[in-house]
Amino acid sequence: MSLKIENLHANIGDREILKGLNLEIPKGEVHAIMGKNGSGKSTLAKVMAGHPDYEVSIGQVLLDGLNLFEMEEPDQRARTGLFVAFQYPMEVPGVTIANFIRAALQARLPEGEELDAVEYYHHLYEKMDMLKIDRKFTSRAVNEGFSGGEKKRCEILQMAMLNPVYAVLDETDSGLDIDALRIVSEGVNAMRGPERGLLVITHYQRLLDYIVPDVVHVMVDGRIVMSGDKTLAHKLEAEGYDWVEKEILQQA
């Protein structure tokens, strides 16, 4: 059981961004992708989720054997168990967090079945407390007027509530101060377990001190070019990405 990306090529307009990406995240593991700006990290997250701006030319993504690209709509992929915590979460004016998450949960229930409101709020408050989100936030519109840190916490709250099988966290550390980083990481770590696979996309090693990965991958120009254990992240931090590029050149 895994989230398996095979020879993925994707473009936006005429520009190819993912150029044959291979990656497998077995259930129960936490993987990290590191890479420079523009290497295609965020594109990978959006392509898997089914963002309409990107076109997949070759390749597939298998979620526990199910081909995500056979699912037309992003919501079908989401309900299959894929969650993406976005780098820049959208504001949804006028739609409260409580109603939004409720609608998302309701969408996962069989036709005719209603979400139990009392149980729902109980559950929601529990997760909010864990992420130290003020309960008043339930009546605020999703991400509207939130600080960077609040947006990221709201993403993790949604992840905690929707309980995905695989989650991709795109630059979840950006815009977080040290306290917020700790809270968010604790929230993510609480979701680690044998029934879930996590893919953490980050630019800096810092986040990986809090969410310690099983495997670290390095992405350059739309491909995974190197993989290793968590020490790879430290090496990258110390020596920079130029070192990776030199390494690849030597291999070639």
């Binding site: 089914g50 989401a78 959208m90 739609v95 609608a103 969408a107």
Partner: protein, 468 residues
């Protein structure tokens, strides 16, 4: 994503029809005879008969306002309409006494149930006359009068005559003239000084007959320091031919009084809804129109407030949803006629399919006034490529110690927003509905709870089929 909305939106709420036997029927067409018939049935006093006939002359002499308004108005055939239909002019005080064929309509619309739950009084109009009218005993004991316009005219002539036709003169526009000629039904409300009516008074206007015109006339007078909230709901079944609804509503808020007037209309798509609504706010009085327009073929409605006393306040909060083939032509009128008067207009419209929503506003602040303020915000949301929106404000703000601001924007629901919601597992259609509800959410909050739930349901229903 740009599929054409389903024309046959499920209007389960109002789209049904039971056959009813009418005792009084003015027949088809409009003439002095029609007016004599209505006056005879209603036993109108002579001055009202003369008032109606004068109004008919005005109506006949005035052109259709198609120099600025929709030419669809030219499709109304006044001679094909029935101007009066009723089972009698005396409303019942108990639902048990309401004839079965009428009662079942209101039961299906949930009116008696709402009355028990949260209303201080209810009037239920069926075509031309109220079938039921009652207020809670405790409210009646405070001296509150809540009756139909005919009963108001007969039993409280001293208050009625003082204000009737004073806020909206007969010749204000062609349709106020028509209403003045053939009005029947509507509410007459008087709130004595200092009385604050805790629960809302509600009127429900139901059109049942085909080729029929409903012309209710409402007059609400809130005496000094009193407060009242009035709510109206409207529905009609879907007929093959068009139906006309043309009401006149006049509000008078005396010194320090507060009136909130809430409308949730859900007309079927063949109704011409041409309504004149205006309030007169005296010193420190407050009039607030909360207006939600869903359905109808063409709605023209611009609730207004004339602020004639110092520190009076006027407000219009308006939501319009123009479905495929519909035109919601709505707006607001704010006339500042005293110092330190303030007004606020917030209008949000949604156009679906080939629907068209239009905002027309009039803001006037007279010269030599001080400290007056108006703020207007209009936001339009377009759902489909062929959807349309127009904004036509007219602002005349004189005097250097007054300020006014008008802002408008047009937007569509962003694809990014829909993608974000879909990534959470919400279907595209549900995401569109959520986004539309989000767009009007801040205004829906201003409706009483029971109405905001109803509103959300109506919006969801309208949204169904507008995305593929």
């Amino acid at each position: 994503m740009e599929t054409k909305p389903d024309l046959n939106i499920d209007r389960s709420i109002g789209d049904f029809h039971y056959d009813v036997d009418y005792e009084f029927d003015a027949g088809i067409g409009l003439s002095e005879k029609t007016i004599d018939y209505i006056c005879d049935v209603k036993k109108d006093p002579d001055w009202i008969r003369e008032f109606r006939k004068e109004a008919l002359r005005k109506f006949n002499s005035m052109p259709m306002p198609t120099n600025w308004a929709s030419h669809d108005l030219d499709n109304i055939v006044f001679q094909n309409i029935r101007y009066y239909l009723s089972q009698g002019t005396e409303p019942k005080r108990s639902w048990d006494d309401v004839p079965e064929d009428v009662k079942r309509t209101f039961e299906r619309l949930g009116i008696p149930e709402q009355e028990r739950k949260f209303l201080a009084g209810v009037e239920a109009q069926f075509d031309s006359e109220a079938a039921y009218s009652n207020i809670k005993a405790a409210v009646g004991e405070q001296g509150v009068i809540f009756v139909g316009s005919t009963e108001g005219l007969h039993k409280h002539p001293e208050i009625f005559k003082k204000w009737f036709g004073k806020v909206i003169p007969t010749g204000d526009n062609k349709f106020s003239a028509l209403n003045s000629a053939v009005f029947s039904g509507g509410s007459f409300i008087y709130i004595p000084p200092g009385v604050k009516v805790k629960h809302p008074l509600q009127a429900y206007f139901r059109i049942n007959a085909e080729n029929f015109g409903q012309f209710e006339r409402t007059l609400i007078i809130a005496d000094e320091g009193s407060e009242v909230m009035y709510m109206e709901g409207c529905t009609a079944p879907k007929f093959e031919t068009s139906t006309l609804h043309s009401a006149v509503v006049e509000l008078v808020a005396l010194k320090g009084a507060k009136i909130q007037y809430i409308t949730v209309q859900n007309w079927s798509a063949n109704v011409f809804n041409l309504v004149t609504k205006r309030g007169l706010a005296h010193e420190e009085a407050e009039i607030k129109w909360i207006d939600c327009n869903i359905g109808s073929r063409l709605t023209m409605k611009y609730p207004g407030v004339i602020m004639k006393g110092r520190k009076a306040r006027g407000e219009v909060i308006s939501i319009a949803l123009a479905g495929d083939g519909q035109h919601q032509d709505t707006g607001a009128k704010m006339v500042h006629a005293a110092d330190e008067t303030t007004s606020n207009i917030v209008s949000k419209s949604i156009s679906l399919g080939s629907g068209r929503s239009t905002y027309r506003g009039l803001v006037q602040i007279g010269r030599h006034l001080k400290g007056c303020k108006n703020n207007t915000e209009c936001d339009a949301l377009l759902i489909n490529t062929e959807s349309r929106t127009d904004t036509y404000p007219a602002i005349t703000v004189r005097g250097k110690e007054n300020a006014c601001q008008h802002e408008a924007s047009v937007s569509k629901i962003s694809a990014e927003q829909i993608f974000y919601m879909q990534q959470r597992g919400i279907s595209k259609a549900a995401a569109m509905s959520l986004a539309v509800n989000g767009f009007v959410n801040d205004l829906v909050q201003q409706f009483p709870m029971e109405y905001s739930v109803e509103l959300k349901r109506l919006i969801d229903l309208e949204m169904e089929g507008s995305v593929g």
